[in-house]
């Protein structure tokens, strides 16, 4: 797949992040691609569902598993072994582990996540940690990185009103300069 195609799918993921932002959610979005087709797209719903584990990736995985056409019974093997994930922010440790348990083929992401990134940001659940059965997968960052950072800043410059005990952000300003990696 060439980089133009990556960019197309990443902009679809970014559109989901925009939808999350408009709904007052932490703006992270993703699409799952099989062949050259998007089979699921989702975004964060942690505030809406009052459940801090309802990240975009897990929302999309639930959508895929609910559709028997996408996971034909009796096929065996891993449900996502032919599926690629595009996500605006590096998957967190929870999602990185979930993706490995689902046998994801490959992950492309926008910006890294040094608070709880599970694909190298904090720890490499995708391919550094050993696992007795689930195969490792490749996770490559840097696609639409600036957009991914900017939308997060746009969100965090205001309060996350739905997170408990918001810290005052009255003095925060929206920075637009992005340091190179």
């Amino acid at each position: 797949m060439d980089s133009a195609e990556h960019n197309v799918f990443m902009s679809e993921a970014m559109a989901m992040a925009e939808e999350a932002w408009a709904a007052g959610e932490v703006p992270v979005g993703c699409v799952f691609v099989r062949g050259k087709t998007i089979i699921a797209k989702a975004r964060n719903r942690t505030n809406q569902l009052s459940n801090a584990t309802r990240h975009a990736e897990l929302e999309a995985i639930d959508e895929i598993l609910a559709d028997p056409k996408l996971t034909p019974p009796g096929r065996g093997g891993y449900p996502l072994s032919e599926t690629t994930l595009y996500v605006t922010v590096e998957p967190c440790i929870m999602c990185a582990s979930a993706l490995r348990q689902m046998g994801i083929k490959e992950v492309f992401y926008g910006c890294a996540n040094d608070r709880f990134g599970g694909c190298g940001g904090v720890i490499g659940v995708n391919d550094e940690l050993a696992h007795p059965s689930h195969p490792p997968y490749r996770a490559i960052g840097g696609y639409a990185r600036e957009e991914a950072i900017l939308i997060l800043r746009r969100f965090y410059v205001t309060e996350n009103f739905n997170a408990p005990a918001p810290r005052s952000k009255a003095n925060r300003i929206l920075k637009t300069e992005i340091l190179p990696r």
């Binding site: 709904a23 009052s50 440790i93 608070r115």
Partner: protein
């Protein structure tokens, strides 16, 4: 019928006992040292046979008289082949079942081993601060009278007890006064400039890094958490934990109603088990299921509901940040999770996202676990919450039938 306890050790002599419903010998299994401790439960008569209590679920007909003393709740059909009803012989109950509910259990007598992560390292961005009134005392000879006035004045600075009272910079001393909206009154007999607001740390420094960060704002008291200085458990709370661990068998995750009732905490228990097979969903682990159950319960009961969406235009930089507009707690704030198996990495991070306080598990999962197995998620650098971990002390009674293939994520 004699149960072999300790066969395979170099000294198997004395390790064969018959069962009795009123045994005269109790035993505890110390698997970390490969020992079984036997103790007489009463005086033994000459030639009396030594008997132990196997379990209430005997796989043979007991010989002799049934006393039925320890008996025996009705067999419950719990959908898990009755495995959750593993009975613990009364005489094998741990020491915290004796004595008053509020007595503190000695660390060694707790039914689990605790692993407490070191305090989260703070950064300049995460140091919490508060605004406090301070006044400069320019004249060194005013310091004595000022201290005397502070001791006798009505200025209540109890919320500043973690800070040094005076900061000296060269000749100038600055006194910390109090946290209040109005400037505090000052002694009339000392000539002082107007008080002003300073930003000071809102808590003590637990680490040397934190100390240097905080002291840059205001001299702060250094109180490193000593080793052993961990929350005490009472007999009552240890019994609560014991019952919770029983409830969790065989493969499940359980959040009991808290032992200490506090405002805002849910007053009911939640339990879920693994449904990967039945739901044909590889991520329906017991922990993920119990978290979802609590979230659904909160949503249905209207707790923690999202009243209003966050503003859709990010222009609000002078928002009223004093009034909390949202729910009070994350899903698992101050909650303790009991689970049969050490949670996998996904589940460990899900618990961290949900701000669980403590995780208690029975069986370690060395190859897949995220609470000390392959990694220890709450101690990774950068993660934004810490929880403590307790590993239930090894005892085959608890682990009966719970063996899982080590390559499975629990």
């Amino acid at each position: 019928m004699a149960l072999a306890l300790g066969l395979g050790s170099s000294n198997s002599k004395g390790s064969l006992f018959n069962h009795s419903d009123s045994p005269n010998v109790s035993y505890t299994i110390d698997s970390s040292n490969d020992l079984i401790h036997y103790a007489a439960t009463r005086d033994i008569e000459p030639n009396e046979e030594l008997c132990i209590y196997y379990s209430s679920n005997l796989w043979f007909d007991a010989v002799g008289i049934h006393t039925n003393e320890t008996s025996l709740e009705q067999e419950k059909d719990d959908g898990w082949s009755g495995l959750s009803n593993v009975d613990i012989p009364q005489q094998n109950l741990p020491a915290f079942f004796k004595g008053s509910l509020d007595d503190v259990v000695p660390e060694d007598d707790l039914p689990f081993e605790r692993f407490k992560p070191p305090p989260e390292e703070e950064t300049a961005d995460t140091v919490r601060t508060v605004q406090a009134w301070a006044v400069d005392v320019p004249e060194p000879r005013s310091i004595g009278p000022m201290l005397k006035w502070l001791r006798h004045s009505e200025v209540d600075a109890s919320e500043l007890g973690h800070l040094k009272r005076v900061r000296k910079l060269g000749e100038k001393s600055t006194f910390l006064l109090r946290v209040s909206s109005e400037p505090p009154s000052l002694p009339e007999d000392i000539i002082l400039p107007e008080p002003y607001l300073v930003t000071v740390p809102s808590s003590v420094a637990l680490t040397s890094t934190s100390l240097s960060l905080k002291t840059a704002l205001w001299p702060t008291i250094y109180a490193p958490r000593r080793k052993g200085e961990i929350e005490e458990w009472s007999n009552g709370k240890a019994r609560w934990a014991w019952e919770a661990m029983r409830a969790v068998l065989p493969v499940a995750a359980y959040i009991p109603a808290p032992y200490e009732v506090s405002d805002g905490a849910p007053s009911r228990s939640f339990i879920a088990h693994d449904t990967r097979q039945t739901m044909a969903h590889p991520l329906r682990h017991a922990v993920m299921n119990v978290i979802r159950q609590i979230a659904d319960h909160r949503a249905a009961s209207g707790e923690e509901s999202v009243d209003e969406p966050a503003p859709t235009a990010p222009t609000d930089t002078d928002a009223d940040t004093d009034s909390p507009r949202n729910g009070t707690n994350y899903l698992l704030t101050s909650q303790i999770l009991f689970t049969t198996h050490e949670p996998c990495i996904m589940c460990s991070m899900a618990l961290l996202h949900s701000r669980v306080k403590e995780v208690v598990y029975l069986l370690p999962m060395e190859k897949t676990g995220g609470c000390g197995g392959v990694t220890c998620v709450p101690t990774l650098p950068g993660v934004n919450h810490r929880f403590s971990i307790c590993r239930w002390k090894g005892d085959t009674i608890w682990e009966a039938g719970l063996g899982l293939d080590g390559s499975i994520d629990a």
